[in-house]
Amino acid sequence: MHVARSFEYNLHLELAISELEKKGIARDGIAAIIMDSRVEERKILDTIHRADGISSFDTAAITGTFGMLMGAIYGFVLYWGPVIWGIIGLLVGFTLGLMGDLLLTRVFKKKKEVDKKTGTAKGPSPQVFLIVECDRDQEGMVKGILWDNLALGVGTLPGNHK
């Protein structure tokens, strides 16, 4: 029978595999399918598991820094002083940079549409799919190991008895 499990990339994945091997599952009985996402939707903010490398944070950080500098400079001749104006400059610069970047992105880069019927690329999608071949009496053990190591989901396919 086969136990299948979906997973994000992380160290728990390798911990799970090594534990399965230690408990007697043959290396050839474990298969990993690397999932490629079909639709890459550009995210404004990256998270630990999803990042596209092009970040609106780039422009915002630079304009925010510049705004902070300008705020500090003019703060020396304004009533609230360089500290408060520096903070104001940072916020204004960061916001303007972020908005400008998003606006330019919308104008110049065609946003790829997400297929609403299949729902591809919406919500967290598994990145690695692990299939473990085992006997019926090993099923509980295999499932336990997979769940204990932060699997996103575990399923079984009865198949032929080995």
């Binding site: 630990i48 630079i62 820094t65 020396f76 001749v77 071949e133």
Partner: protein, 267 residues
């Protein structure tokens, strides 16, 4: 005669990155204009971003020395305030011209280096080079792992350098921590913050040293941005490395062909 390179050499020729005990240095695609912009804000920062530490540290040290001696920051401040006579007067002519060539070099140099390193990044990826994800040394331990980008941002906002400590980019971290202490101390920033929040704005303005204060925005912005980008790219690197490991070891051609065979009696 066949001269095919063995796999072991191919893998080393175009590396993706190197995990060492004090930092993980690696190639990834970057926008050269972003690197150039950081170099413009603070010469050397573009190089530090790229992992070109020696060049970066040299340029930053140079910036501190010449900017402080020539009073470039003061002149910039007076110019933006429209007090051009003061700007002219504050510059020390004995040092000022030294600034220009190196400033321009640092912008152009980091732009050009980014373009070159982007080629390295693409080649390394296409060559599917292996890398060892852990390095344990006598003094520290470096390894690839998933980390939270916003944790790095939060730490960097509290104190520039902490975010890099979190992602284990020790050289940048060490440097930023020292720079932060020096600039905060000499600019009297903390006293000014105290006065500002108590509402004593004229006291705050009076105590600040603009020459030193103007280093801080670039330092702060750089720390936050760089630690964020690093965390994101480290996570991507982790995924690439792990995917390669899985492909190499867990996609056996001997894996059961019975997967799609229906169980007996149900066919």
């Amino acid at each position: 005669m066949e001269n095919k390179q063995p796999e072991s050499i191919r893998n080393k020729r175009r590396p993706i990155g190197l995990v060492t005990d004090i930092t993980v240095n690696f190639f990834h695609l970057r926008n050269p204009w972003v690197t150039a912009a950081w170099s413009a804000l603070f010469p050397g920062f573009g190089f530090i971003k790229l992992g070109s530490y020696i060049k970066g540290f040299l340029l930053v040290a140079w910036e501190f020395l010449i900017n402080s001696e020539a009073h470039i920051n003061m002149a910039i401040m007076y110019s933006f305030q429209g007090q051009f006579d003061l700007a002219r007067a504050v510059l020390d002519v004995r040092w000022t011209l030294l600034y220009l060539a190196v400033w321009v070099f640092s912008i152009w140099g980091s732009y050009a280096l980014t373009v070159d390193l982007n080629k390295m990044a693409i080649l390394g990826l296409r060559e599917n080079s292996t890398m060892v994800p852990v390095s344990i040394g006598a003094l520290d331990i470096g390894f690839l792992d998933k980390r939270h980008p916003w944790m790095a941002v939060g730490l960097s906002m509290m104190s520039p350098g902490l975010g890099h400590l979190y992602t284990h980019r020790i050289p940048t971290s060490f440097f930023l921590l020292i720079m932060t202490i020096a600039t905060v101390y000499y600019s009297h920033l903390l006293e000014a913050i105290e006065y500002s929040f108590l509402g004593a704005f004229s006291l705050a303005t009076g105590i600040l040293d603009p020459q030193w204060l103007m280093f801080i925005p670039s330092l702060y912005g750089f720390a936050v941005h760089d630690s964020y980008v690093n965390t994101v790219e480290y996570n991507i690197l982790f995924e690439q490395e792990q995917a390669r490991f899985l492909r190499d070891n867990y996609q056996s051609p001997h894996f059961s062909s019975s997967l799609l065979t229906p169980p007996k009696g149900e066919a």
